[in-house]
Symmetry: C2
DNA sequence: ATGCCTGAACTTGTCAGACAAATTCAGGCA
DNA sequence: TGCCTGAATTTGTCTGACAAGTTCAGGCAT
């Protein structure tokens, strides 16, 4: 964590210039497709070497904002923030910020997962149910053995999203699961087993599964909501009156 | 478009090395947190100059895969593809595929926007309301003048997401708004005005606004749900029994 | 007068070297 | 054994040169 926070705070010139370049593109009101100033002009504008500008441009190319053509120039492909969605700007994983920031992400998760669980109850197939039950079984065994089941917990939620028959929802759940992998740790680590957090979470998981099995959409939504609310409590976050 | 496809297909060494580096990271089975080989070794491995490696690394830093520390090295922060969420893999905007694909994205939007609109009703401030009303007013004027109000429509939904006081929800709405910008065109183009689609959408917008103004969370959710369902009908998409 | 071709100027892409800043590691000393 | 110091190592930035690709202007032919 200490090494990680040092990583998170280290800001280099090229990082900074990438950010400034983004902000400047937004403030200048460039149209998509517009040609940006030459590297030479950007060097002058930001007062840095060409290498730093090129690295900043590389970053914006990766984000889909800019496209370059040799001999011609750099062109605005999309406005910053519009090409992809990230939970944080600097590439770190999420549960590193203030409780408010973590709660914001959880709230997004609440909205998405209650909706997806409801759809799963309406659309699940026999093989979806098998997949969900398999992940549930792995968590069950982890309760007995005291082992870590973060992966199974993640798979459980991805399997539910898959049961919606909407690939975008499944992909979003994969994305969120990865970004929030650390938030599951207090549930499934040794202390979580001892304190009964794992057991409680599994109780909630079983309720979710039962509702989906029964094809009861409102019970599924309700079970997912309760699970997410409890999750916030387990992490000591403020639910702000959902 | 022809210029655009030329841009899209132009593959430079630094682009290629970024891709190869990604593939290599995946194939080597590095753990998250693992230290990657030095720039010098990567230059040797890929047979390119240090500048090309640095630009490739800059790209992967932007994607959240890699973090670097001066004097120490480059570290794997997340597996390639897991740091950001995109609706399509190649960075293009969405309404290009089959109706099913578009409907999937709309469904995601349905889930997120009904939830966000409910939260907005609970948390909106006076200035949030002004912002929402301003966008509403622009659409109102567009109804009278027959002009295009895709931008105002987009701003309306972003303003609602902002009223949740959850920056993640706002940012997600900005992302989705851009990706779906083409889906608003049939509502606000000349044919949309003539056919009354613009007028109908505005009626729905006004209902949403009224519910948020009144702080009525369930009315807000309901109004947003109806608006999204109508939007799907306007686009001829299948709502699959919501 | 218009269109096409050629060469120069310009712009991005890559390579190489030097030095700065930060980190790591090994050796020496208390 | 632990701490400090210096050397080695590694990333960060700057600079210059040359390659590859594009654009633009001028000249020539029709």
């Amino acid at each position: 964590m200490d090494a990680d926070s040092r990583l998170a705070s280290a800001s280099r010139l090229s990082d900074e210039v990438a950010r400034q370049l983004e902000a400047w593109i937004l403030s200048e009101g460039f149209q998509v497709g517009a040609r940006l100033p030459t590297e030479k002009l950007l060097c002058e504008r930001f007062g840095v070497s060409r290498a730093v500008i090129r690295e900043a441009i590389s970053r914006l190319k990766a984000e889909g904002c800019i496209r370059t053509r040799q001999g011609s120039g750099a062109y605005l492909a999309s406005l910053p923030g519009e090409g992809s969605f990230r939970l944080v700007r600097d590439g770190s994983c999420v549960p590193k910020g203030l409780p408010r920031e973590i709660a914001d992400v959880f709230e997004m998760r609440y909205i998405m997962e209650t909706g997806a669980t409801e759809l799963a109850a309406m659309r699940r197939t026999a093989s979806d149910l098998e997949r969900i039950a398999e992940a549930l079984g792995r968590m069950e065994r982890a309760i007995s053995s005291g082992e870590n089941a973060v992966g199974a917990d993640d798979d459980f939620h991805v399997a539910i999203a898959a049961a919606t028959q909407n690939p975008q929802l499944e992909r979003f759940q994969v994305f969120m699961g990865h970004q929030l992998s650390q938030s599951r740790a207090p549930t499934w680590d040794a202390a979580g087993h001892v304190a009964g957090r794992a057991k409680q979470a599994q109780l909630e998981h079983r309720r979710i599964y039962q509702a989906i099995l029964a094809g009861d959409r409102s019970a599924a939504r309700q079970a997912a909501a309760e699970h997410l609310e409890s999750g916030m409590l387990r992490l000591g976050l403020d639910a702000r009156g959902w």
